[in-house]
Subunit: 421 residues, 2 copies
C-alpha cells in the first residue's frame, strides 16, 4: 500500500482483504467469510493489477485496479488511473446491451480506480492463447458478431437521438489520455523512428524501413487517424483484439474496455478481424512435423468470414427493427421507399466494411513493427521462422490498407489472404 | 419583463436601462450617464431580441438577448436560451483567433442569456442586403477567407493537441439543441413532406416533389448529415450565411455564432459559398430595364473563386507555419519528405473542398424548399420570375450535391455556374 495520492492506494493482497471485509457488497458475495479467502494476482496485461478472489463457500469475483502508470513499463510512463472509470462505465453499458458476452460489474470504487466483476472461471482462457494452441470455438463468430452488432448499433445515431448521443460523447471525451495512447502507438510510432518500436531484427529491418518510407501507406494512415480522432460514431470498446476476449467452447466474454470512447465503429471490427488475420499468418510458425495447422487455418478464415457476415445481418436487422425509433440519422419518412432503404443500408455497410479493413490493417502493422507485439508471433521461438510469418502478415496488411476500397465482400478478403504470397 | 423563470427575465427597453445602470462595465462604456440613453430594438433575425444602445457622449454597444423560444415563430417552438452561452463563448474564441472580423464581447450574463458587444455602426449593413442592392465589397474575399482560415485551422487537430480538442468538443456538445435544429431544417425537412416547408407555389411544386423523390440526392444528404452529427473537425460558426455577416466596403464582421459547435469545416465554407451562389442566381430577379446586373454577377463569381483560393492559401500557410506545433494529426516527423507533405495537404484540401460543395448545395436546397428562405429570392416580388431564379439555383445545387467529387477546382465550379441552364 505504498503509493498514496488523493485517496488512491495501490492495494496489495493484504490490504485487499481489509478492503473486501469493509465493503458489504463484496463480502456478501463471498458468504461474509473473508477470513479464508484465496487471492491470486494474475494481471498478465500491460496496464493493471488483477486479483482473483475466491472463498471456501464458492463465492468469487475479480478485482481489477488501475495504477497511475503503465504497469509493464513502470512509473516512468504515467497513465491516468481514471481509465478504470471509463472501463466500469463501458462494462455496464455494453453489459446492458449485450449481457451474454460482457462480465457483470459488482462494484466500482472511483477513488481507488477499482472494479469488482464476475470471475470468468476455468476453462475460460484468453482467446489469443486458444488460437495459438489451435482450439476451434464453434460459437465464436456467432457470439462476437452479436456483441459488436449490439454494442455498436445501440450506441450509434441509428438508435440514439442526437441529444442522447452528444451527452454520451461529451462524457467519454474525458478518456482522452487513452485515446492519445492509441493515436501514438497505432497511427504514429510505426511510421517513424520511435524509441519503443521493435521488430524481429535483423530479418525485418528492411520491412520496418519500408513502412516508414511508404508514402501511399502514410497518406492512408493519416486519413484513418483523423477518423479515429474526429468521428463519434458509436461507443467502441477501443481495444478489441483477441487478448481482450475470454472464451470456452460455449462462452465468449469481452473484457478490458478501458480504451472505450465514441469513435468509428470500424476500429472495433477492424481490431478483431486484423488480430484474427495475424493469428492466421502465425499458424505456420506453430505447425511442425507433429502438428498440421491446415484445417485450423481454414477454421480461422471461416470465422473471419462469419464474423463479418453475421455482424452485417444482425446490424441490419436491428436497424430495420428500430427504423421508426428515436434514431434520427436516417428518418424512415425520408428513406422508406424499399429500394432506397436497401440502397442507404448497403452504402452504410460498404463504408463501414472499408473503415474496418483500414483499421484492421493498421492494427496488424503496429503489432509487428510497433511497441506492443502479439503472443501469436512472439511465441514462435525460431526468429527466422517468426520473421517469415510476420513478413507475410505485414505485406498483406499493407495491401489491405492501400487497396481496401477495391474489396466488396469478406469472401474477397478471404481469397486475398489465401493467395497471399 | 413578463417572462420570469430561473433567474431569467426577458428585458424590455425600460428594464434594460435599469440593467445597464446597475452593471458597471456597461454604464462605464456609456460615460456613466445612463439617463439620456437611446435604445432601439432592431432584432430582424429569426431567434432573438437585439437592442442598440447609445449615449450622448458617443458610447455605444449592442445588447442581444436570447429568449427560450424561436422569436419568429413564438413560444410554440421552444428553443433553449443557453444558445447565448455558446454564442458568447464562440465570439470570444473566434474573436481571439481573428479579432479583425469578430465584434468584441464586453459582457455576458448567463442567467439572462444576454450578451453586450461592440455596436457595428453605420454604414455597416448585413451582407445579404448589400448583395441584393448590388454593392461590391472589394475586401470581402480577403476578409472572409482570413476569418475562416483562422477560426477553422486553429480549432482543428492540425493545431490543437488531442487533449485540448476533446475538452472543447465536450463543452460544445451542450449546444445540442441548436445542432438538432440544423439537422432538421437542413438535412431532413426538405426531403420529406413537412409542416413548415414552403416554396414558390405553384411554379415550384414539381421541383419540391422532385427533391423528395430523388434517391441519389437523398443518399448523398444522408452522408452529409452523418458527417455533420459525428465529425468534430473544428469549432465551426454553424450558420455562416450572408445574413450572419455585416459589412462596409472596408470592414467585414461575422456575427451570430449561436449554432457553433465542433463540426465539419466544410459546413461553414459551404454555407458561405452556397449563399453566394444563391445571391448569384437571384440577380436576374433584381435586374431590369434600368439595372444591368451582369457586371455584378461577375463580381459575385470572382468573390466565390477568391474566397476558396485565398482560404486554401492561408490555411496551408498556417499549417506550414505550425507544422512542428502541438497539433498531432500530421506529425512532421512522419510526413516531412517534401513531396509527401504536399501530397497529404493536397488530399486534405481536396476532401475539404468536396465537403464544402456538398454542404453548400444542401444549404441552397433548404433555402428554396425548406422552412427558412432568403431575402435574395423573397425580395423578387414577381412570383414567376422568382420561381425561375429559384429553379435554376435548385438545379445547380442538385448537380453539385450529386456530382461534387468530379470537380477539382473552384474555377470548374464557376464554369459550371456560368453554364447552368
Amino acid at each position: 500500500m505504498a503509493v498514496v495520492e488523493g485517496g488512491f492506494k495501490a492495494l496489495d493482497e493484504k490490504s485487499l482483504i481489509e478492503y473486501i471485509r469493509t465493503t458489504p457488497v463484496l463480502s456478501s458475495l463471498l458468504g461474509n467469510d473473508p477470513e479464508d479467502l484465496t487471492i491470486k494476482e494474475v494481471g498478465d496485461g500491460n496496464l493493471n493489477f488483477v486479483y482473483i478472489v475466491t472463498s471456501p463457500s464458492g463465492g468469487s469475483f475479480v478485482i481489477k485496479q488501475a495504477v497511475p502508470y503503465i504497469r509493464c513499463i513502470g512509473e516512468s510512463w504515467p497513465m491516468t488511473k481514471e481509465r478504470a472509470y471509463y472501463e466500469a462505465l463501458t462494462l455496464k453499458e455494453h453489459g446492458r446491451l449485450c449481457p451474454a458476452h460482457v462480465p457483470e460489474v459488482y462494484h466500482f470504487d472511483r477513488p481507488l480506480s477499482l472494479i469488482a466483476m464476475c470471475y470468468l472461471k476455468p476453462p475460460h482462457i484468453i482467446l489469443r492463447k486458444g488460437l495459438i494452441v489451435g482450439i476451434e470455438y464453434p460459437l465464436l463468430a456467432e457470439h462476437l458478431s452479436e456483441y459488436m452488432a449490439r454494442t455498436l448499433f445501440f450506441t450509434s445515431l441509428l438508435y440514439h437521438s442526437t441529444t442522447d448521443h452528444k451527452r454520451e460523447v461529451a462524457e467519454y471525451c474525458g478518456n482522452v489520455d487513452l485515446c492519445r495512447l492509441t493515436e501514438q502507438v497505432v497511427f504514429s510510432d510505426p511510421y517513424k523512428v520511435s524509441q519503443y518500436n521493435h521488430w524481429t531484427s535483423p530479418y525485418l529491418d528492411d520491412d520496418a524501413e519500408a513502412i516508414r518510407e511508404d508514402d501511399e501507406l502514410k497518406v492512408e494512415v493519416a486519413g484513418l487517424k483523423s477518423m479515429f480522432c474526429e468521428r463519434a460514431q458509436a461507443l467502441i470498446h477501443g481495444d478489441l483484439h483477441t487478448g481482450s476476449i475470454m472464451v470456452t467452447t460455449e462462452s465468449t466474454q469481452v473484457i478490458d474496455p478501458e480504451f472505450a470512447f465514441y469513435g468509428p465503429m470500424g476500429f472495433d471490427i477492424g481490431a478483431l478481424l486484423g488480430n484474427l488475420i495475424l493469428a492466421f499468418f502465425s499458424q505456420d510458425g506453430h505447425a511442425g512435423n507433429e502438428i498440421d495447422r491446415d484445417a485450423y487455418k481454414q477454421w480461422i478464415l471461416k470465422t473471419i468470414e462469419d464474423i463479418w457476415n453475421f455482424f452485417y445481418r444482425k446490424f441490419i436487422s436491428f436497424w430495420n427493427e428500430h427504423k421508426n425509433g428515436k434514431g434520427e440519422a436516417y428518418l424512415f419518412d425520408i428513406y422508406k421507399k424499399p429500394e432506397l432503404w436497401l440502397l442507404v443500408q448497403k452504402k452504410y455497410m460498404k463504408d463501414l466494411f472499408h473503415d474496418s479493413l483500414g483499421f484492421g490493417a493498421a492494427k496488424m502493422i503496429r503489432r509487428i513493427v510497433g511497441v506492443a507485439h502479439v503472443e501469436d508471433f512472439e511465441s514462435i521461438t525460431d526468429a527466422k521462422r517468426r520473421a517469415y510469418c510476420e513478413h507475410r502478415a505485414l505485406e498483406f496488411a499493407k495491401l489491405l490498407l492501400k487497396e481496401r476500397r477495391r474489396f466488396n465482400t469478406i469472401e474477397e478478403i478471404i481469397v486475398a489472404i489465401k493467395e497471399s504470397p
